[in-house]
Every structure is written in structure tokens, then in C-alpha cells.
């Protein structure tokens, strides 16, 4: 493992599988009466958020607290790009406080990379989303969700996603989630297809390790998972597509379209979902939609990442062999994951 987690592209297959396996162990902590490990006791982790994201911040915070870290939340809203030195100044303040890790969310692509490589700071840097660049822990939790659902919770240990076919639909151009997922899923052996109107696909995408399609219907029957991205209504005014209705007709996922997917296939969404535009309520509420699991899995993944970056070499959890389960069919929606409400 590297010292920082900036981009999903930096992870090798073995790194990624190790994180997913570690996250399975972390998920088991949630089954315990005391949902806490002493692993990061005495360590300080800062959640440095230049951009609003309550969901992501709470997820990291829950992970940090379960590992017994001291947590500082630092919100620097609105000061990111307008003032040149703000990132550096803030970083050096944190450095002076003896911070061990910085979880950073920033509106500017590359800000976490700058933070990790400019010599401003010694702490480990974890990218919690930068501009339209990367959101690696999101990709990891998505991969974790897919492995549980498509391979199996226990059967998945040590496994990657070889041969799985993943379709990512929507605003690829502005999506750090799409970028991170393409990188990680490719590393894990999956075949990825991006589906979007041509206006929402970046120029230069031809170098990405995936297929591009402008036609959703033709990809559905070949998909093991369909990930719907959030499409902002503002994009319509910037002429990325003509009308909301036309977008929904061509790229929205409704019940009819879901019916074209193989029976085992799942529907994913990084959230928050805007029902109606990219996904209908019928799909969002169906048992095939993994949005709530994704939220829960996010905590396990972030625990695993923090543990592996900061925790050293000891095993994350003692007595960790998974009990061989006889009542866990691989596609069963896990009863053991943490629900979003428990976080707060």
C-alpha cells in the first residue's frame, strides 16, 4: 500500500483486493455489541472539507471513530479557489497540530495530490473527492457492494470482479465517481461500459479502459450491474441535452428498462438520488437497488483504508476467520451491514 490514497488508478489489483477483504473484516465489527476497535487510538485524523458533503463526511467520521481515532472536522467552505493560498495555509495549520491523516474533499481537481506531494504536510492524505477527478473510496465501496452481491460475501474473499460487466450511465464528463470506477473496476478485471449522451462524455475518453455507448437499451441485457450517475438539471441549461424529458426517455432507468436486465443484475447509485430524472421511484425502491447498502459499505471501506494507511502491519481484527455461513446466499441483502441511521 502507498502512503496516500489519491486516485483509484494508484491501486494495484492486490491492494484493492486487500482493501475489500479488510473491509469485510471491518463490517464484522458492526455485528459486535461494542462497535469499536482500538486500532487508531492516539492518532488524529482531520476531515478537511472545502466542499459540502455531509454524507461523505459522516461516513468517514463514523469510520474514524470506530477505529478510536481522535477526529477533527474542518470545514472551509467557499474559501477554496477564491484565495490562492488557503489550501496550503490550512495544511500547515494542521501540520502544526500534529495530524496523522487528512481526509480531504475539494472542489478543485488535483488538490489532494498537491497536498500530498508539495511538502506542505507530512500526514497521510485520503482523497474524499476532488473536483471532477477522483473519489477513490466511493469506487472501493461500489466494488465492495458489487463483490458482495455478484460474488458473495464470504465467497468473495480474495476475489476480484473478473468477467463482471458493469454499465455506468449519465454525466460521465463531470463525474469523479465514473472516473474512479472505471479505473478500479478495470484493475479488478471487470468490463466497464459508459453510457451517456455524447455531450456528457469527455474528449479524450478513448484512452480509458472501457467501452463507450450512446445507447442504454442495447447494454442492459449484458450488464451485471448498472450504476446510475446523478444528472444535474443545470446541465440542461448549458445545452448538454435538450430537455429533462428527453434525457429521461433516452438515459433514465425505469421499470421497463430494469426488466431487460438479467435477473441477478443490480442497480447502483452513488447518491443522493433525484428520483424521476435518472431513476424512477419504482427502480430506486426495488430490492435490486443497492443504494442503502452502498452507504453502509462506505463505512467499512473507509475503516479499511484508514486502517491500512495508518494502522501498520498487525491484523485489523483478531480472530477474524469468517464463520462459514450456511444461510447466506450470495445475493441476499445483508442483515449485518450498518444502516445509515446508526452513523449519527
Amino acid at each position: 500500500m502507498q502512503r496516500h490514497l489519491i486516485s483509484a488508478a494508484d491501486l494495484t489489483r492486490d491492494d484493492a483486493v486487500l482493501i475489500l477483504d479488510t473491509a469485510e473484516e471491518m463490517a464484522r465489527v458492526a455485528d459486535r455489541p461494542i462497535k469499536k476497535l482500538p486500532t487508531l487510538r492516539g492518532r488524529t485524523v482531520v476531515n478537511l472539507f472545502f466542499e459540502d458533503s455531509t454524507r461523505t463526511r459522516i461516513s468517514f467520521e463514523a469510520a474514524e471513530k470506530r477505529l478510536s481515532a481522535d477526529v477533527i472536522n474542518f470545514t472551509a467552505k467557499g474559501s477554496s479557489v477564491s484565495k490562492g493560498e488557503s489550501l496550503k495555509d490550512t495544511a500547515q495549520t494542521l501540520e502544526a497540530m500534529g495530524v496523522d491523516a487528512v481526509v480531504i474533499r475539494h472542489g478543485a481537481s488535483g488538490a489532494p495530490y498537491r497536498l500530498a506531494t508539495s511538502g506542505w504536510i507530512d500526514a497521510a492524505v485520503i482523497n474524499a473527492g476532488d473536483g471532477t477527478h477522483q473519489h477513490p473510496t466511493q469506487a472501493l465501496l461500489d466494488a465492495f457492494t458489487m463483490r458482495r452481491r455478484l460474488v458473495g460475501r464470504d465467497a468473495g474473499i480474495g476475489q476480484d470482479l473478473s468477467g463482471k460487466r458493469i454499465t455506468i450511465v449519465g454525466d460521465v464528463l463531470h463525474s469523479r465517481v465514473a472516473r474512479s470506477n472505471v479505473d478500479l473496476l478495470h484493475t479488478l478485471g471487470a468490463e466497464v461500459t459508459l453510457v451517456a449522451p455524447p455531450t456528457l462524455v469527455p474528449v479524450g475518453v478513448e484512452s480509458w479502459p472501457c467501452e463507450i455507448s450512446y445507447d442504454l437499451d442495447s447494454t442492459l441485457s449484458k450488464s451485471d450491474a448498472v450504476m446510475m450517475l446523478r444528472v444535474q438539471r443545470e446541465r440542461m441549461n448549458a445545452a448538454f441535452f435538450p430537455t429533462e424529458r428527453e434525457y429521461s426517455r433516452r438515459y433514465g432507468l425505469d421499470g421497463d428498462r430494469m426488466a431487460k436486465m438479467p435477473e441477478h443484475a443490480i442497480v447502483m447509485h452513488p447518491g443522493p438520488m433525484v428520483r424521476g430524472m435518472e431513476i424512477t421511484a419504482e427502480v430506486a425502491d426495488s430490492g435490486r437497488c443497492t443504494v442503502v447498502e452502498q452507504v453502509a459499505n462506505g463505512v467499512s471501506i473507509r475503516m479499511a483504508v484508514l486502517y491500512l494507511l495508518l494502522g501498520g502491519n498487525e491484523p485489523a481484527v483478531t480472530h477474524t476467520r469468517p464463520p462459514v455461513s450456511h444461510h447466506h446466499p450470495s445475493n441476499e441483502r445483508s442483515a449485518h451491514t450498518i444502516s445509515a441511521d446508526e452513523e449519527k
Binding site: V81, L87, S109, G110, A111, T117, G131, V203, W208
Partner: protein, 428 residues
């Protein structure tokens, strides 16, 4: 100031000769000239060029003296072998009146390191809506002949047409920063494979090319002369080549950094590589080199853009655009054009002195190295190899993309009308 004998210099890269300076002019060029009464500069094997002329420099004074001043900028110019620089108009206040251009011109004369020829803004405040007093700037003591809103594009086709027509009255030229503004909203780097991966806003080649195409057609239509600043794409080269073949009066410049660096460097997210127009691809770089060699691109201009440390020591999106270039330009040209066999030193003199002086009508610059000409000269140790160390820069700002990079060649002496401004690599 009296006599100086430069002994054994390869004049424009040719056979070694002696050059005798007497006062402000070159008295004699020949073999075995007498050193009698002259201070001797042993040039043994170094290349002697006419003083370099930069058609595109940002001196930042008035308004951003923390980045650069006329004094520090002209000292940087002398260090790089320049004897004349054209100062861009995007200062605070903007150089859009006779008063501002005269001030900049006079500061250059007072300091004496390098002639400063101000460029006047095309439109008031660079706002692109109302023509600045082009005639008054031309008639001022500064004698402005080049007009540019550089930093911004004159994107309104009617304003551009009028400016091109208007400057015909006094033989002026409009230098266009070709950047279609709508196509480059939020642009952070070249649009392509790397921008797609990095998630940085794309600056597409077509935003440059479409303006160049429009402007050469406008120049043809009104029978005027247009100069294209910092050409950066292979497509732009093709358009200029086509325009020239059609007889359109267009000239074009390329910066040293566009001859050497590519957008792959942006992967470091180091804002020292953030520049406008952005670093392009390897294919573009090769096309630019070839176009400079075959004359499609007329000149090298630095686009020397000094910024203080804090404007670059931040995240990419927040950083200022631009690089300093006066002190490294000749080295980059030596590496990319001479050592690749694309240009000889006479070609370098043409692209970095003769032609820029002609385009900008810089009196007394870009002259042949021969008897009776002004003694504005540059002596280059072409065998030198060394890593670039910004700590030694004369420029007030250090935002160079070449820190630690080994570049060939070093200017050892510069003379401005017989007066040494640089001696043995040290400012006089």
C-alpha cells in the same frame, strides 16, 4: 564607452571572426582585427548574434510591481540576450492611453538594460467593446505600432475588423490572443486524453484555431496585417500555412515552452505548468517546431509572464497562468531547434531578432552584424550545459517550468548600442 574587440566569435554561427565595436556602432567585422585601444572579449568559439528581440513580454509595471518591474524585467531580458522587448498592455492601469505607454517607454530608457517598446491595448480596459485611442498611442513618444488585448481575445468580429482597418493608417499591426471565450469557459489545460483523466476543464485546440481562421479571413478582407500570438496547435499551423499561401498578410509566433513541453506534465498538478494557451500534445510540439523551421511560424516570442510565488504555490485551479521565459528562451531554442538540426544559428537570428524587429518595427534592432550597424549584440556559449537554477534569475518572479532541468547554451555577453548590459553572465 569606447572600443571593444570581440575576438574569434562565430558570427551567426559562421567561421570565427573579430567584431570591433566603436561607441554605439559596429566599426569593423573581419579576421585578425587590431586590438589597439580596445577592450578585448575573447569569444573563442562562442556564437555572436544580433541582440534578441521579444515581441511578447509581460513587465507588470504599472500595477503588479510585486511580480516584475520594468527594471527587473529588462535586467532579465539582458540576461537572456535581449536588447529590445515589447511590453504587453495588460497592466493596471491598462496601457490603453498615450500616458501609460509613454511611462513604460521612458522607464525602459532610464534603466538602460533593454529598449522597451510598449504594446497598446486594442480596446479600452481590454474589455473588447470600445477601441482604445490607437492613433494617440502611435503618435506618443512611445510610438506604438503593435496593439494587443493579450490575456484576452478580441473576440467580437466587428471590433477586430475595425481595429485591423484602423491601424492601416499608420502601418500598425494587431496581435491577437486567439481564444474563443465561450469554448474555453472554465478551461484549465489542453482538452484531450490528459484532461479527461485529470478531470480538469479542457481548452480545446479549436478555440484557438477558429479565431485564427476568422482573423486571417478578416485581414484578407480589409487588406490589413494581423499577427497571431503564441500559436500552440498543429491545426493553427495549417491555417496560417494556408493563409500565407493565399497571400494573406499574417505573421505568427511560438513560445519556447510550446516548443518543448507537453500536457503530460500537468499530471503533476504543479501549477508551474499552467499557462495560456495551455501546453499541448507531442504532436502539436512537433508541428510547431517544423513550422518555425519552414517559416510558417515567423518568430519565437517568450510570453514572459512573471507571477509571485504565492500565486503558484497552491492548488492548480487557483493558480495564475503563465511562465517566465526571457532568461531561458535561447537555451530552449538551442535544444529544440538547433540541436535537432531544424535551424542553424542564422535561422535563430532570423526568428529571434531580425523578424520580430521587423514585425514590431523596432528601430535599430534586428540588424545585420556588419560595419555601420548599431552594436546591439549577444554572445552565446553554445557548449555550456547546466541545470536551470531560478535562484540566479534577474526576474523578480521565479515561475519557471525548467527548474532543475538541464538546458544547453548560456548567454555570456549582451551589448545594447555598444554598452555592455551583461558581462561574463553577470549584469553590468
Amino acid at each position: 564607452m569606447s572600443k571593444i574587440l570581440i575576438r574569434g566569435a562565430k558570427v551567426l554561427g559562421g567561421e570565427p571572426q573579430d567584431v570591433l565595436i566603436d561607441g554605439q556602432t559596429i566599426a569593423q567585422v573581419g579576421v585578425g582585427l587590431s586590438a589597439d585601444g580596445a577592450e578585448v572579449v575573447e569569444a573563442d568559439g562562442k556564437v555572436l548574434l544580433p541582440g534578441l528581440v521579444d515581441l511578447h513580454t509581460h513587465l507588470r509595471e504599472p500595477g503588479r510591481e510585486d511580480s516584475e518591474t520594468v527594471l527587473t524585467g529588462t535586467r532579465a531580458a539582458a540576461s537572456g540576450g535581449y536588447t529590445a522587448v515589447f511590453a504587453m498592455a495588460n497592466t493596471f492601469p491598462v496601457a490603453d492611453t498615450a500616458g501609460v505607454v509613454e511611462q513604460v517607454y521612458r522607464l525602459g530608457q532610464e534603466h538602460g538594460y533593454c529598449d522597451v517598446q510598449p504594446i497598446g491595448a486594442v480596446t479600452v480596459g481590454l474589455e473588447g467593446t470600445k477601441l482604445a485611442e490607437l492613433g494617440a498611442m502611435h503618435e506618443s513618444a512611445a510610438g506604438v505600432t503593435v496593439f494587443s488585448d493579450d490575456g484576452k481575445c478580441v473576440d467580437d468580429a466587428v471590433i477586430m475588423r475595425r481595429a485591423l482597418e484602423y491601424v492601416k493608417a499608420f502601418g500598425g499591426v494587431v496581435a491577437q490572443h486567439a481564444q474563443e471565450p465561450r469554448l474555453t469557459e472554465g478551461a484549465q489545460m489542453n482538452e484531450g486524453v490528459v484532461s479527461a483523466e485529470l478531470g480538469l476543464g479542457g481548452w480545446p485546440a479549436v478555440a484557438e484555431e477558429s479565431i485564427i481562421a476568422r482573423d486571417v479571413l478578416l485581414a484578407e478582407h480589409v487588406g490589413s496585417r494581423v499577427h497571431i500570438c503564441h500559436l500552440s496547435t498543429a491545426g493553427s499551423v495549417e491555417i496560417v500555412r494556408w493563409a500565407k499561401s493565399r497571400g494573406i498578410d499574417v505573421t505568427a509566433e511560438v513560445t519556447p515552452h510550446h516548443l518543448l513541453l507537453t500536457d503530460e506534465l500537468v499530471r503533476t498538478y504543479n501549477p508551474v505548468y499552467k499557462v495560456n494557451p495551455p501546453l499541448r500534445t507531442e504532436r502539436d510540439v512537433m508541428a510547431l517546431r517544423e513550422a518555425l523551421a519552414d517559416g510558417t511560424i515567423d518568430i519565437v516570442a517568450t510570453d514572459h509572464a512573471p507571477h509571485p510565488h504565492e500565486d503558484k504555490d497552491c492548488e492548480w485551479a487557483a493558480a495564475a497562468m503563465g511562465m517566465v521565459g526571457l532568461e531561458t528562451a535561447l537555451s530552449v531554442v538551442q535544444q529544440t531547434m538547433v540541436e535537432t538540426g531544424l535551424l542553424d544559428w542564422a535561422g535563430v537570428a532570423d526568428r529571434m531578432s531580425f523578424k520580430p524587429a521587423r514585425i514590431g518595427q523596432a528601430q535599430g534592432h534586428g540588424r545585420p552584424v556588419s560595419a555601420g550597424e548599431p552594436a546591439s549584440l549577444t554572445l552565446v556559449d553554445t557548449a555550456y550545459r547546466g541545470a536551470v537554477d531560478p535562484a540566479g534569475f534577474a526576474s523578480r518572479s521565479r515561475n519557471t517550468p525548467y527548474e532543475g532541468r538541464e538546458l544547453p547554451g548560456r548567454v555570456t555577453h549582451t551589448w545594447l548600442r555598444g554598452k555592455a548590459t551583461l558581462v561574463d553572465g553577470k549584469l553590468a
